[in-house]
Amino acid sequence: MRIDKDLVAASATPLVLGILAEGESYGYAILKQVNELSAGQMRWTDGMLYPLLHRLERLGYVQASWRVAASGRRRKHYAITPAGVELSAERRRQWAVVIDALDRVWTEAAAARAAATLVGPSR
């Protein structure tokens, strides 16, 4: 199953912040983690992650620093800031509402269908 790109875009910020809340990380590792978390079903265009990270940095939700990796190359690491933690919590509450509403509407629809089959076609 491929996830619709609007949904991917909408969930990108909370996902990145959630991953960084567990500890600082860098672009490629973040992408790999997204891939694992979604069992390979959420495919991002790799290059698009970086403008998003830079935007979060500019708005003060994450902080970046250059480190030297084991391979000897420079690597830019991102760590979440207190403002980022706040935003992440806020997003989590919002998504909870959305997921809850979706869940309800779908269970109600399923219940209505089940009821309809029990009673049989009306008239």
């Binding site: 860098y26 672009g27 490629y28 992408l31 265009t45 790799d46 290059g47 698009m48 970086y50 403008p51 830079h54 935007r55 940095e57 500019r58 708005l59 003060g60 902080q63 970046a64 990796a69 391979s71 190359r73 420079r74 690597r75 830019k76 800031t81 403002a83």
Partner: protein
């Protein structure tokens, strides 16, 4: 060539080198960001090779997963608009246009410059002489030349003619009405206030044209701030060069016994001053990517010097005696100093790399703003005492209003910079505050120009 153990092969290195060159030629992605992308590319290649792909295959897949370069670049450009500022002009929009447009632009600019130069001599046809009625020229000079500048930007941003006239005409018409319909008293202070504030109001119309009537866009507003700073620098340079040339020409003609200073004063100077407005604007637009912006460099030099001056001033005021007895001219002077401080702040902000962590210069800048605030509070007290003692006048209202506006801006800027230095706020808050504040200046200029003259009997 010896291969480093564990490093990718030479073929892969060449391919990555080519890729890197290609990305950099796009110009939007900075070297640091390319480093970051390259690191990503290498990680992906290494993982794919481990999964059994050959170097070539792994490279192709990794590049493909990075996304279509144009789209990724565009995303980068949207995020880093301050870099885009350097490519606004020279980046060709269409290949076939890239050759013809610069020459056509030069023709348009020169035509507008000549038109502006002619326009300043037109009033003479109805008997308004520069030497006999300099006050009329002082009130109207901005109104004469700035429509041409607004027209240049409207042309350059390809604004629809009807829409741009509808949006841009209002400030010019209002200005023309105020400058000419009010019966100013001879040598009155309200007239001087109008001469000072009207250009600010009309500049708003130019700014609207500059941002392509997209006045809600804060990055575009910041671009306009950058433009004004560079424009002042170029205009000053042109004026200096012009002055040297005029001096030499006058001396040369005087040496052969021809007196031409009258002709120069009546024709060459006013026409050149008007034409230079457009030429300077064109230079700013055309040379953005050739020269590093100059205004921010100047702010770096003058921020510490101005801070020193303000601190010396703060020490000197109490040392000379009573604050209340400060001269009225001094109050206006202090307003000008605060305008300078605001300018230093504004142009430093406009050029600052947003992601850079706070550095020494940011601290210096906070010190500058704080010392300016102290001077301002001192002056406000002095001004209030003067007003309660001697009553209000147009000059005092204008000076007081400007002072309050600058105080509000600088106080909030100081708060935001403290937050930024402590790492509690992103730098973009400070930037946003300044672009948010721009309409306040225009509104205040409108109040001074429209309301104050009738309120004080045009005196």
């Amino acid at each position: 060539m010896t291969a480093v153990p564990g490093a990718p092969d030479a073929g892969l290195e060449t391919q990555i080198g080519h890729w890197r060159g290609y990305v950099q030629r796009h110009g939007v992605i900075s070297p640091d960001d390319v480093d970051e992308l390259e690191g990503h590319l290498r990680d992906r290649v290494a993982d794919l090779e481990q999964a059994g792909l050959s170097g070539d295959e792994a490279f192709l897949v990794a590049v493909k997963r990075l996304g279509i370069l144009d789209e990724v670049s565009q995303e980068f450009a949207r995020e880093h608009s301050e870099r885009l500022w350097k490519q606004l002009v020279l980046a060709p929009e269409l290949p076939e246009e890239s050759v013809t447009r610069p020459t056509r632009e030069l023709v348009v600019v020169l035509a507008l410059a000549v038109a502006a130069a002619v326009a300043i001599k037109v009033p003479e046809l109805v008997g308004l002489d520069l030497t006999e009625d300099p006050a009329w020229y002082a009130r109207n000079a901005g109104l004469v030349v700035l429509p041409f500048l607004a027209g240049y930007f409207a042309w350059k941003r390809r604004l629809e003619l009807l829409r741009s006239v509808r949006v841009l005409a209002a400030p010019f018409l209002l200005g023309a009405l105020v400058a000419n319909a009010y019966p100013y008293a001879d040598g009155g202070s309200t007239e001087v206030l109008v001469v000072i504030h009207l250009p600010i109001l009309v500049l708003l119309a130019v700014g609207l044209a500059y941002v392509g009537v997209d006045w809600r866009s804060h990055p575009r507003r910041m671009d306009f701030i950058r433009f004004t700073g560079e424009w002042v620098v170029y205009y000053t340079l042109l004026a200096l060069g012009g002055a040297v040339l005029v001096g030499l020409t006058l001396a040369g003609f005087a040496a052969i016994g021809l007196e031409i200073s009258l002709f120069f004063g009546e024709w060459v100077l006013p026409c050149a001053a008007m034409g230079a407005v457009l030429v300077a604007a064109w230079l700013v637009e055309a040379k953005q990517s050739v020269v590093e912006n100059i205004a921010p460099v100047l702010t770096r030099v003058f921020t510490p010097l101005t801070t020193l001056m303000l601190l010396a001033f703060l020490v000197a005021i109490p040392a000379t005696g009573n604050v209340v007895e400060v001269d009225r001219d001094l109050l206006i002077l202090v307003d000008l100093i605060l305008v300078l401080v605001l300018g230093l702040l504004l142009y430093a902000i406009s050029a600052r790399h947003r992601q850079a962590p706070p550095d020494l210069f940011d601290r210096l800048q906070l010190l500058l703003v704080l010392s300016a605030l102290m001077v301002d509070v001192l002056m406000l007290v002095a001004m209030l005492i003067r007003i309660t003692e001697l009553g209000v006048s147009a000059n005092k209202v204008a000076a007081l209003g400007l002072n309050l506006i600058l105080l509000a801006n600088l106080a909030w800027s100081a708060r935001l910079s403290v937050g930024f230095l402590r790492g509690r706020r992103p730098f973009s808050d400070l930037e946003r505050w300044q672009t948010d504040y721009l309409p306040v200046y225009a509104a205040w200029a409108a109040v001074v120009v429209v309301v104050l003259p009738p309120a004080f009997g045009y005196a």
